[in-house]
Amino acid sequence: MSTPNSGQQNDIAIYTRGVSKYFPGVQALKELDFEVRRGEVHALVGENGAGKSTLMKIIVREYLEDEGDVFIDNQNAKGMGIRDVQQLGLSLIHQELNLVPMLTVAHNICLGQEPLTRFRTIDWKRMRDKAKEFLDQISPEINLADRVQDLSIPHQQLVAIARSLTTKPRFLILDEPTARLDQKATENLFSFLANVKNKGLTVIYISHQLEEIYQICDRITVLRDGKKIITAPVNELPQGDLIRRMVGMEITQQVPKEHVPIGEVILSVRDLSPEKKGENINFELKSGEILGIVGSIGAGKSEVAHAIFGSDPKKSGTILISGRELNTRNPAEAVNAGLALIPEERKAQGLVGNESVRKNMTIASLEKRFCAARLWIKQTKEKEAVRESITTLKIATRGTEQEVQFLSGGTQQKVVLGKWLMSDSDIYLFDEPTKGIDVGGKHEIYRLIMELARQGAGIVFISNELPEVLSLCDRILVMYQGRIAKELSATTTNREEILFYVMGGKENEQDTKQSWPTDQ
């Protein structure tokens, strides 16, 4: 691993001076000075909401800064657009894979720049050769003639990276590239990065995984709350130090946890392996208990919830609800057994946008509660119940008939909550219920979740925001790469320790663990 020496100090590839960015109600970046040297792999780390993505989007000109300056290759980026910085050799590989599924690997790599024969037809042989040149740099074992739709997700991601190389980038930004990669593909990526670094390519690497940061990066910049905390060579910033700087000592508004009696086991998950992601998931949930599940993007949290609920298939495993086995691929049966899933993608999975608040709220409980002789809907009773929910949940809507698509994100989430509260479930699976919701809305949702627990429901609370998990949950499961890496008790753990496991820390690396401050 090359340590940058002072001779390279003048050789800065990208830097920002005093960059600030405001979004409605929040300052995402605060007078940020950030610099990346030519030919280094520079890790950018920070908790969710620290400003990593905003900074990268400003560098690639997807966003424009409100204050300050961005310099790429010593040129001020003011007035530059996405195309201009691409021309300077900047390439961002983001998390969506933009590939054409039914074209071959070779064709996807060369899409838009297919070599032609004398007769203006596609020169398939030269196209394969050209694609091979780029693919060989990163993953020679992928077959160029395969259609992209037949590849595994990790291989698709590698093809996407190979594709971005065709523009001959000089600066490469990778946004959590390994979230979709398996072990083998990750090794491919790393040896590629080690290679290109020697050829003078500059890489900015956003990641949540400690191991890989220390394996491949030269320097690290830590962001927190839109501010740069430190930039340092990796060997001068041990893991424990890094995590402490990510978390900081900020005081977050906490919700007082209401302690309720914890009862019998109502949900047991045994050796569950969801088909999408995850292996050997085992846990139990008691009535009145709030169980947090945390982990970085791609760790497999949502996949577990969907596999339990039956909205995604599972490879193997048993799910017991109050001792009775639930064997279903059908969410309707899960609902009958007393399960409720409040999905993360509430627009796509939880709401019918152009329908009214009333219809959205009662859709899961119509048959149980509002149908006369299972035939027609008792509208008066339905409306009454919805009005009651609107009052208790403080839903900001003009009335029961307002279309949900015109409500704010937080209000929509409350409608989804209301829907499941009406269903009188015993077990609630919340998938990132507070994502994208303002502080006031969050507190409403915490209050509701605690109310559910008080009434004896068991709650699985999936979240990436550690403060809320710490203050709301009784126990916390940390997932890492599809497995449960650690179970922690919310009363004895703290943010540093959780983050340590979220980022793939191993239990025996005790040196860092002992230094956790306990005065959280």
Partner: protein, 320 residues
């Protein structure tokens, strides 16, 4: 996924429509003594010509991830123009060119509505369909005009060597369409746009331009198909396009269940067109009541598409 299936299963899922087609041919050959004769087989191909060409146009649009119903109106409008221009003494060439121009213009209108005004292609093309139908009615006053021009009629009645001209036209255009779509950069970009327009855009493909070209080319194919259909009928009959509306749609979507894993493709479309006409021809020869033929056709289509798509678990999804 599909790789774990047995090879027989895969064969059925990939070529289900073709198998059903072959079964139908064998059945009709045994059940009637008139079906499997050169004259009848030629007849089937000639009857499929206008249908096939029109379906090529639709297939091109389907590959680009859009849909186009405007042929339902273009065919009739073009027919009325062709017949009356020939009657008024215009040369076959100039009459045909005017027809193609009208087809191209309709395609351009589709492109303007879909690409320019961001309308759904379903709605836009149905609107253009109605416009053309209305124009046809205004132009022809509902009068059937017969065509006497021998040069023009030879396009459907003549032979090139021993082979009937329509067969040459149909197979020739199949080759041209297939070649342009699969072997040229622009043709492959059409597929890329239909599959993942975001990816195409990021690859620097000018998606609006390509999509517009697709609609214009389809309009030209519709117009040419309209000329041939009119010639085959011997004259311009009111609303000729409506007759073909569902057949063209069925041929293109049958094509998606043939050959290429649930995606629109030209050879599949031609098989679809042949299949539909073969069924109609065979059942007619069997002496089936004409009003029962659609019933039988419908059942057979469901069965043939079902065997290939159920195994595959997917059929063509068009985003309107």
């Amino acid at each position: 996924m599909s790789r774990t299936q047995s090879s027989l299963g895969q064969l059925i899922s990939n070529y289900g429509t073709i198998l059903a087609f072959l079964v139908a041919i064998i059945f009709f050959s045994i059940a009637t003594d008139t079906f499997f004769r050169l004259g009848n087989l030629q007849n089937i191909i000639i009857q499929s010509t206008a249908l096939g060409l029109c379906a090529f146009g639709l297939t091109l649009v389907l590959i680009a991830g859009e849909i186009d119903f405007s042929y339902g109106g273009i065919i009739g409008l073009v027919g009325a123009l062709l017949a009356s221009m020939l009657q008024q003494g215009y040369s076959p060439l100039s009459a045909t060119l005017v027809c193609l121009l009208v087809g191209g213009a309709s395609g351009l209108l589709n492109a303007l509505l879909v690409v320019g005004f961001n309308l759904s292609s379903f709605l836009a093309s149905v609107a253009v369909f109605f416009l053309c139908m209305g124009a046809e009615r205004v132009y022809s006053h509902g009068v059937t005009v017969w065509i006497q021009n021998r040069t023009m009629l030879s396009l459907v009645q003549g032979h090139i060597g021993p082979v009937p001209t329509p067969i040459v036209l149909l197979l020739g255009l199949l080759f041209v369409c297939w070649f342009l779509q699969t072997q040229t950069r622009a043709g492959q970009h059409v597929r890329a746009i239909g599959e993942n327009i975001q990816a195409a855009r990021e690859a620097g493909i000018r998606t609006s331009l390509v999509k517009s070209l697709v609609f214009v080319l389809a309009g030209l194919l519709f117009a040419f198909a309209g000329c041939l259909e009119t010639l085959r009928n011997g004259g311009a009959i009111m609303y000729a396009g409506k007759q073909l509306l569902l057949f063209v749609l069925a041929a293109s979507f049958l094509g998606t269940a043939t050959f290429k894993a649930g995606k629109a493709n030209f050879p599949g479309t031609l098989v679809g067109a042949f299949f539909l006409i073969t069924l109609m021809n065979g059942f007619t020869l069997l002496g089936m009541k004409f009003y029962l033929i659609p019933l039988a056709q419908g059942l057979i289509l469901i069965a043939s598409v079902a065997i290939s798509s159920i195994r595959r678990g997917e059929i063509e999804q068009v985003k309107f």
